[in-house]
């Protein structure tokens, strides 16, 4: 089939009249089929992404340089005035502080606890599936329900936690007043919901760790804790990077939990726990109804997420590959070693 067509093409010299190609249309189509079809097959994702992801992103950028009211619609072009106004307001910076504070208070303990939980679930437990499903249960609970339950627990005067503190003679904590306690309360909600979910991802990675490594370690006399730090953690580094990255992005966009933390959902009367997404909502759909500014906040947040995400990625990548102990290099060496050993006999 393919022998026929390329031959005449080679004969063509510059200036010479082009001889008619003797390639059948069907043939040309089938060649396109080979080249183009794969792209068509994977195109639904990209089309869906372009419609639901890329277009809103670009359109948000378009909105952010206009005066734009929720009901009034598009107004005048004002360039970067919306951005300037947002950056000049202390509420925005406060919201950024809250976001990072809640993000750190949730992501760090969450990843740590999730790894330990996963390590425990990785053992030979009785009723293993029951425990594994159990850690996922909080994830299934709707965030609003979590908000209502934790709202009762963390109520300032009538809450269960303050009542329990009172039993030990401690002063009640003002969960809805001081910034740090409110961040802790919200981070607790986030952790409640996401720890089990992350634990299951870690568990999946741990299941893929070769068991003979543990056997070798046991023969060498390593205890459980030593095994955990010297085998489990290094072996699942790639997964740790993935989880840290996704929880970073999620943590910077946190909305549900602070929104349901009190009845108004505005982040407190001095914005103690107003996160940046909450601020975005308040500017766009709250009292101000200024979509132009909300779009500017969205873009600023987008840039922050990208910057923090890249730093995060670079850092965890460096940690993962430092001193030649990285999972990739090691596994490649292992693979080579394994290949050699199979060849030898």
């Amino acid at each position: 089939m393919s022998v026929k067509s390329p031959a005449p093409e080679r004969v063509i010299t510059a200036g010479a009249p082009r001889p008619p190609r003797r390639v059948g249309f069907s043939q040309r189509l089938s060649r396109w089929d080979v080249k183009v079809s794969p792209y068509l097959y994977i195109s639904p994702f990209f089309i869906a992404f372009a419609i639901t992801g890329l277009f809103p992103l670009i359109y948000t950028g378009y909105v952010s340089v206009y005066e734009w009211k929720l009901l009034g619609g598009q107004g005048e072009f004002i360039g970067f005035e919306n951005f300037a106004a947002i950056l000049a307001h202390d509420v925005f910076w406060k919201s950024l502080r809250n976001t990072f504070s809640i993000f750190l208070l949730s992501t760090v303990p969450q990843v740590a606890v999730a790894i330990v939980l996963a390590a425990l679930l990785d053992q030979n437990l009785r009723a293993r599936t029951f425990w594994r499903m159990g850690v996922l249960l909080p994830y299934v609970v709707a965030p609003v329900a979590v908000g209502i339950i934790f709202g009762r627990l963390f109520a300032d005067q009538s809450g269960l936690i303050n009542a329990a503190l009172g039993v030990f003679g401690l002063d009640p904590v003002r969960w809805h007043v001081e910034p740090l306690p409110s961040h802790i309360a919200i981070a607790t909600m986030v952790n409640f919901r996401w720890t089990g979910y992350n634990a299951l991802i870690f568990l999946a990675a741990m299941q893929a760790v070769p068991r003979d490594l543990y056997e070798a370690a046991i023969i060498d006399g390593a205890g459980r804790i030593r095994q955990f730090f010297s085998i489990t953690v290094p072996q699942i580094r790639a997964t740790i990077i993935f989880v840290v990255l996704t929880s970073t992005i999620g943590g910077l966009q946190i909305y549900d939990e602070p929104r349901v933390f009190d009845e108004l959902g505005r982040g407190g009367s001095s914005q103690q726990w107003m996160t940046t997404t909450l601020y975005l909502y308040d500017v766009g759909w709250g009292t101000q109804r200024n979509l132009g500014r909300a779009a500017a906040v969205a873009w600023i947040l987008f840039l922050i997420v990208i910057v923090i995400g890249s730093i995060n990625f670079a850092l965890s990548n460096r940690i993962a590959s430092s001193g030649g102990h990285g999972p990739q290099r090691r596994s490649r060496r292992q693979r080579r070693a394994a290949a050699r050993s199979t060849r030898r006999p």
Partner: protein, 435 residues
């Protein structure tokens, strides 16, 4: 080969149909087009929230009168949900809205500003049906009436007779009204009685939160935050607001239970005897009864500091994008007629905004057994008649109100600022609004 093209077409068709599906879905609601001849069977949709008192039976009555019209109601659990739904769809050109959309009085400033999205409901048939201020709030600059009033929130004082007795104060509702100043009740006299009360029973606060007191005061100011042409008053020079603010936070130091309204602590306080009185719009009797189940002693006094006051109330609007605008208008007219509104009051306690309804025997005879059989119909009719100020609420009203309310919460509930600091930070937050 053909397969490829066919596949490409199929893909394109798929994408198209998905996007079309999106448009088609938003076209819910009215099932028939046109239908102005009055005989064609049509279905009207009405979107409400909370409980308007429009029961199945009530809506069926309309079908009896107009056999060709069927009415379907969609009820949102919270008004905030209904508001998001309404404003989002309005911003998208009105597609997917119900034939009749219920709105709260608070949403009017911005809806009146985009009055073109609604059908003009002004009609001789409804002339004089409502108090003037109820109509004025829903009227656009060009005279368009965008909503028919349903209920209002005339404010009285709800109080705990048992706690009054413990403090050695009169308990009878007429005597309590006298005690608070009767017809000439002022905020000062209300606070003064509060100080007597707190002196006698130090464990119980006089009112639940400074925020609602401030709300009561602001609803008595004609131009609280804005001039009548809509321009915002600079907060730093706004002496009316500053006076109300200072009066509230000063009183709250001794008299407030420091509870944020609608919070978990607030809910619990009804069971813990934390406070003795509440500003009480007609619709508030429901939430009190809901939270204070098992507590006896609640009563309503026919009095309000500083004259009358209105807090809340709703309207029915007809979006202009609907397919059966005329029929919808007729239905809204029927639903907000005095007779129907009295029925809704008996169903759900929403106090009618129709002048004529206030004289209806069904309304004036209505009592509430939870509030010690108080004649709520008569009391709130009196309170409604006492409303003499129409607060102007423009597009900036809620932004500014939020700023001052936040400051009051910081002083009263969070105790994180002194009254002076609270005011200064409110002025700072006001400048952030860039009005």
């Amino acid at each position: 080969m053909r397969k490829t093209t066919r596949k490409a077409w199929a893909l394109a068709a798929g994408v198209m149909s998905i996007s079309l599906l999106g448009t088609a879905c938003s076209d819910g609601g009215s099932s028939a087009e046109g239908g102005t001849d009055g005989d064609e069977a049509i279905t009207l949709t009405i979107a409400t929230f909370n409980d308007f008192g429009y029961t199945e039976e009530l809506l069926a009555e309309y079908t009896e009168l107009n056999p060709n019209v069927k009415v379907e109601q969609t009820r949102a659990a919270q008004s905030a949900d209904a508001r998001t739904n309404l404003t989002t769809k309005l911003a998208a050109g009105g597609a997917g809205l119900a034939d009749i959309e219920a709105i709260e009085v608070d949403w009017l400033p911005e809806l009146v500003a985009s009055a073109d999205a609604f059908a003009d409901l002004s009609d001789d048939a409804v002339e004089g049906r409502w108090d003037e201020w109820k109509v004025a709030a829903a009227t656009a600059e060009d005279g368009r009436l965008i909503g028919y009033g349903t209920d209002i929130g005339p404010e009285g004082i709800c109080y705990r007779a048992d706690l009054f007795e413990a403090a050695g104060l009169p308990t009878d509702r007429a005597a309590v009204a006298e005690l608070l100043g009767g017809e000439n009740a002022t905020w000062d006299s209300y606070f003064e009685v509060g100080r007597q009360f707190v002196a006698a029973t130090p464990d119980v606060a006089w009112f639940e939160t400074a925020g609602s007191i401030y709300q009561g005061m602001v609803n008595q100011l004609e131009n609280a935050y804005e001039e009548s042409d809509g321009t915002a008053k600079p907060l730093a020079e706004n002496t009316d607001v500053k006076d109300a603010y200072l009066a509230t936070v000063t009183a709250s130091a001794d008299l407030s239970a420091n509870l944020a309204q609608w919070s978990g602590d607030w809910d619990a306080a009804f069971q813990n005897n934390s406070f003795a009185t509440m500003l009480c719009p007609a619709w508030m009797t429901g939430p009190i009864e809901e939270r204070a189940g098992g507590v006896t002693g609640w009563d309503v006094a026919d009095v309000f500091p500083g004259g009358g006051g209105n807090w809340g109330g709703s309207y029915l609007t007809v979006p202009a994008s609907g397919k059966n605008v005329d029929e919808a208008k007729a239905l809204a007219e029927w639903l907000t007629s005095p007779e129907t509104q009295v029925k809704a009051f008996l169903n759900a306690g929403t106090f009618p905004s129709q002048v004529e309804a206030w004289e209806s025997a069904d309304l004036t005879g209505a009592t509430n057994d939870f509030f010690n059989d108080a004649p709520v119909g008569e009391i709130f009719a009196n309170r409604a008649a006492a409303i003499d100020v129409t607060p102007f609420k423009g597009e900036n009203y809620f932004e500014i109100h939020q700023v001052v309310s936040d400051a009051i919460n910081r002083v009263d509930i969070e105790k994180s600022e002194t009254p002076e600091q609270g005011w200064d930070s409110a002025v700072q937050a006001f400048s952030n609004l860039d009005l």
